[in-house]
Symmetry: C2
C-alpha cells in the first residue's frame, strides 16, 4: 500500500468512530427513550475518547509523516495530507486532561444553562459560564494566536478567519443595514396574519417532504424527522439526515426549517464519497455550510421565482388558509421585517444584528474587557441600541442560545457570514446560469444544484471559505451583495 493509502485507511477508521458517535447523537435526539441518557452519555464519551486517542497516536503521526514526505502524491492527495497534518498538529496541543476538563465543563455548563433558562434567571448560569470562558481563554492560549485570542477559537469553525477581518465585516454590516432597517420601520408594516392560522400537522409534514424533493434532496441518502431544534447530521455523503419541527399556528416554521436544513444536507450529499473520512470529503467551513442553507432558505425560498411555482401548490395544500389570498400577500408575509428578541425567529435582515451583538460580546469576553457579571446589562443595551427593543426577561434575552454552554465561542459569526456568502453566490449563479430565476419559477432547481455541486460541494475542504468565494465569484466576501439583494427585495415589499 502507498503511504497515502495507509494514511487514508487509518483516517477513515477514525472517521468511522466519529460518525458512529454522530449516529448515537442523532438517535439520542430522535429516538432514545428518556432513561437511556446516562448510558448514552458514557458511550459517546468513550467513542470521542477513542477517536481522540487514534487521531493523536504515534501510529497516526508516523503515517502522516510518511505521506507528507512522499513526493509522488497528486495535488488532491497532497491537500488531504496538508489538512490532516494541520488538524493533527492542533489536536496534539491538547492534553487528555484538558479534553476531559472541557468535556466535564461542557456537561456542567449545559446543565446550568438549562436550569437557569427554565428558571428565567441568568444569575444561576453566570458562575458556571465564567468557568467556561476561563477555560476557552486557556484553550486559545494552548492553540496560540498572532493577534487576538478570539482568532484561535474562530479557526475551529472558520479556518483563516480573524477578529480583525470580522471587525471590518461587521462595520460594513452595521453601516449598511442600520439605515435600511430605519427605512423599513418608517413604512406601514406588512400583514402576515395569513401565516398565523391553524395548519394541519400531517399536511405541513407532507408539504415539507415535497419541497425537499423539489430541491433535489435525495431520500435514498437521507431522511427527515421531527426534533425540537431542527438540525442536519451526516454519517457519510450517502446518509445525510435532516429534521424539522411543526408549529400548528405558523406554517413557516416547518417549511423554512426543511428548506434551511435541506440546503445544509444538499451540501453534505454533494461531497465526494471517494473522500469519505478525509478533509476533501468534509465541508469547507461553517460559513460555507450556512451559505448553502441560507441560499436555499432565503435567496431561493423567500424569493418571487420560487413562489411563482409554489404558490399554487401551497394553495392546493392549504386551501382553507390560502385560497382567498394572493401570491404577493404570501410573499410579503414571509418577508416581513420586524426587530424581535429571538435570533432563530428573526427575519433575514435583523438577523445580522443578533449575530453582531454576539460577536462583540464574544470578542470582549475573550479579551477580558467584558465580565460575565456585566453580560446581561450589556446584552440588553445592545438590543436597545440596534433593534430598539429590550428583552423583558433573561429567557428571551441573554439565556436564549445554547452555544456558549457547549463552549462554542466563535461559532456565531459564521451565521452572518453564511448569509452574506449566500447572496454573493446566488448573484454569481444568476450570472452563470442563463435564466436561473425563470427555471426556478418553473420548479426546476436542478441547474442551480448542479452549479452548487460543481462550484462548491465537490471541493470539500480544498479551499477555505475566503479563497473559495474568490474562486467562484472572482472577489473576496463582499457584504454589498447582501445589501443590494436586501435593498432590492425590501424596497419592493415596503415600497420605498
Amino acid at each position: 500500500m502507498s503511504t497515502f493509502e495507509q494514511l487514508k485507511t487509518e483516517a477513515q477508521r477514525i472517521a468511522d468512530v466519529k460518525y458512529a458517535a454522530a449516529v448515537l447523537n442523532w438517535d439520542m435526539e430522535i429516538n432514545m427513550p428518556a432513561n437511556g441518557v446516562e448510558a448514552r452519555s458514557r458511550q459517546l464519551a468513550t467513542l470521542s475518547g477513542i477517536a481522540f486517542e487514534m487521531g493523536t497516536s504515534e501510529k497516526f503521526s508516523n503515517l502522516l509523516q510518511a505521506a507528507k514526505d512522499d513526493a509522488s502524491l497528486d495535488a488532491l492527495q497532497k491537500r488531504n495530507v496538508e489538512l490532516l497534518w494541520s488538524d493533527f498538529q492542533k489536536a496534539k496541543k491538547f492534553s487528555q486532561e484538558f479534553v476531559e476538563e472541557m468535556s466535564m465543563t461542557v456537561s456542567q455548563t449545559f446543565a446550568a444553562w438549562e436550569h437557569a433558562k427554565k428558571a428565567n434567571d441568568f444569575s444561576l448560569y453566570a458562575p458556571q459560564l465564567e468557568k467556561m470562558i476561563a477555560l476557552k481563554r486557556k484553550q486559545a492560549e494552548i492553540i496560540g494566536y498572532e493577534k487576538h485570542p478570539y482568532d484561535a477559537l474562530l479557526d475551529d469553525y472558520e479556518p483563516g478567519m480573524t477578529a480583525a477581518v470580522l471587525d471590518e465585516y461587521f462595520n460594513t454590516v452595521r453601516s449598511g443595514l442600520k439605515p435600511l432597517l430605519e427605512k423599513i420601520k418608517a413604512q406601514p408594516q406588512v400583514d402576515n396574519s395569513c401565516l398565523h392560522q391553524h395548519f394541519d400537522r400531517q399536511q405541513q409534514w407532507d408539504y415539507s417532504i415535497a419541497i425537499l424533493k423539489q430541491m433535489g434532496y435525495d431520500f435514498g441518502a437521507g431522511r427527515q424527522d421531527i426534533s425540537t431544534h431542527p438540525f442536519t447530521t451526516n454519517f457519510a455523503a450517502t446518509d445525510v439526515r435532516v429534521t424539522t419541527r411543526i408549529n400548528e399556528n405558523d406554517m413557516t416554521d416547518c417549511l423554512f426549517s426543511a428548506i434551511h436544513e435541506g440546503g445544509h444536507a444538499l451540501y453534505e450529499q454533494g461531497l465526494l464519497t471517494g473522500n469519505y473520512g478525509l478533509p476533501l470529503g468534509e465541508a469547507a467551513s461553517l460559513s460555507v455550510h450556512e451559505s448553502q442553507s441560507r441560499l436555499w432558505e432565503n435567496n431561493v425560498g423567500r424569493a418571487l421565482p420560487f413562489w411563482k411555482y409554489n404558490f399554487e401548490i401551497a394553495q392546493k395544500t392549504f386551501p382553507a388558509q390560502f385560497s382567498a389570498i394572493s401570491q404577493h400577500t404570501l410573499y410579503k408575509a414571509i418577508n416581513r421585517v420586524e426587530p424581535s428578541f429571538i435570533r432563530t425567529q428573526a427575519d433575514e435582515l435583523t438577523y445580522h444584528f443578533h449575530i453582531m451583538i454576539r460577536f462583540d460580546i464574544e470578542k470582549a469576553l475573550m479579551e477580558g474587557t467584558l465580565n460575565v457579571t456585566d453580560l446581561k446589562n450589556y446584552w440588553n443595551e445592545q438590543y436597545q441600541k440596534y433593534l430598539g427593543i429590550t428583552p423583558a426577561d433573561d429567557a428571551t434575552g441573554i439565556l436564549q442560545d445554547v452555544h456558549w454552554s457547549h463552549g462554542l465561542l466563535g461559532y456565531f459569526p459564521t451565521y452572518s457570514l453564511g448569509s452574506a456568502y449566500a447572496a454573493q453566490y446566488y448573484r454569481q449563479a444568476e450570472q452563470d446560469i442563463p435564466g436561473l430565476n425563470d427555471l426556478i419559477a418553473k420548479g426546476d432547481n436542478a441547474p442551480l444544484l448542479t452549479w452548487l455541486r460543481e462550484k462548491i460541494h465537490v471541493h470539500g475542504r480544498f479551499y477555505n471559505s475566503q479563497d473559495l468565494c474568490e474562486k467562484v465569484t472572482g472577489e473576496k466576501l463582499n457584504f454589498n451583495h447582501f445589501l443590494k439583494y436586501a435593498e432590492d427585495k425590501y424596497s419592493g415589499i415596503y415600497g420605498f
Copy 2:
C-alpha cells in the same frame, strides 16, 4: 481505585463500543436510507475491530490478572471477574486474521443466501455454505472441546451445554411429542378463520402497545418500531428496544411478535444497571432469554387466563372481526396445531420438530457425517418423517433460515430449550405466586414480572442456564413440564 474498579472501567469502555455498534445495527434495520449501507458496514467493522482489540489487549489482560489475584473481592465481583476471564481466554484464542476471515465469510455467505433464497435455488448457496461450515469446524478446533466439535460452538450461546446433553434432550422431545402430535392430528382441525380477516394497521399497532404496557414493559426505557423480522436489542438496561411487524390479514403476527419480543425486553430491562458492561449485567444465555420470550408469548399470551382479561379488549379493538365470536373460539384459533414448513410461523408444539431437525443437521455437519451437498435431501426427508410434509421448494425448506449464513451454528437448540424452560418456570411461578392465573385473568401481570425479576433477571450471568433452572425450580431442565403443559392445553382444545 481498587483492582476491580479499574477492571470494571475498562470492561465498561469495551461495552460502550459494543453497544454503540448495536445502536448502529438497530438504526440500519429501522431508519437507515438505502444508500447508507456501505458506509455503515465499514463503521460497524471498525467498531467491532476496536472492541476486539480492547478486549484482547495486554492492558485488559493485566487488569484481569490483578483482579483475579485480589483476595478482597466480594462474591459478585469474583463471579464478574471469573466470567470476564473466561470470555477473555476464549477471545484470545482467535487471531485477528481468523476474525477478519470469519467476518468476510459471513458477508459473502449472507449475500449468497439472500441471492439463493430469492432465486429459490439451494445449489447457488451450497458452495458458500460449505466454506462457512469448514470455517466453523476450524473455529471449533481453535476453541477446543472435550467430546464433540459442536460443544465448542454451543458454548457461545449456551455456556455448559453439550451435544450429548442435547441428544438426550431431543430424544425426550421426540418420544414425548410424536404421540401427542398424532393424537391431535386424529381430531377434527380447529377453525382459525377468525384470525384471517382484515385488521387495520394502526389498530393492531395501538393494541400491541397496550399489551406491552400491560406486560410491564417500560417505555421510558424502550420503544417499539416496525421491522421485517421482529427483534429485541439493548444498549443498556435503560434502553431496550423491540420491533414487531404487521400483517393486515393475520392479527396474531403483530400481537405475538410484540409479546414475544416484550418478553425478551423485560429480561433486559430487569438486568442490574450497576453491572452495566459486566457479565452480571448480561443475560445468562440464549435459552434463558428465549424462556422469557416464550413464557410471555405462550404460557401467558396463549393461555386462558390472559384471554379472560383480554378478550373483551380485543373485541372492543376489533369489533367487526370479533364481536360475533366467543372467547373460546379465539383461544382455540390462536392455539391451532398444524405441521407447516416455516419455523417462525409454527405452533408451539410442532416448533420443537423444526429445531430438532436443525440440531441433527448441525451436529452432523460439524462431525462431517453430513455433506452440504446432501443437505437439501436430508432436510426434506426429515420434514416428511417428523411432520409428514415435504417442502415444495428450497425457499420454504432448506433456505428459510438466515442463521447459518451468519455462522450461527449452535444457536437453534436454544429456541427449543427456551420453550422447555418457559414451561418449567411458569409451573414454578404458579406454585410460588398464590392465585397467579387469577391475577393474570384480572390483567395484573405485576406479580409474575416481579417473580421473574427476582428469580431470573437480577442474576445476569451469575448462573448458567442449567444451574439457574435448578436454583429456581429445584430440578434440572425437565422436558416433562412442557409435555404436561402441552397435553393439558391440547387435550382441552382438541378434546381427547
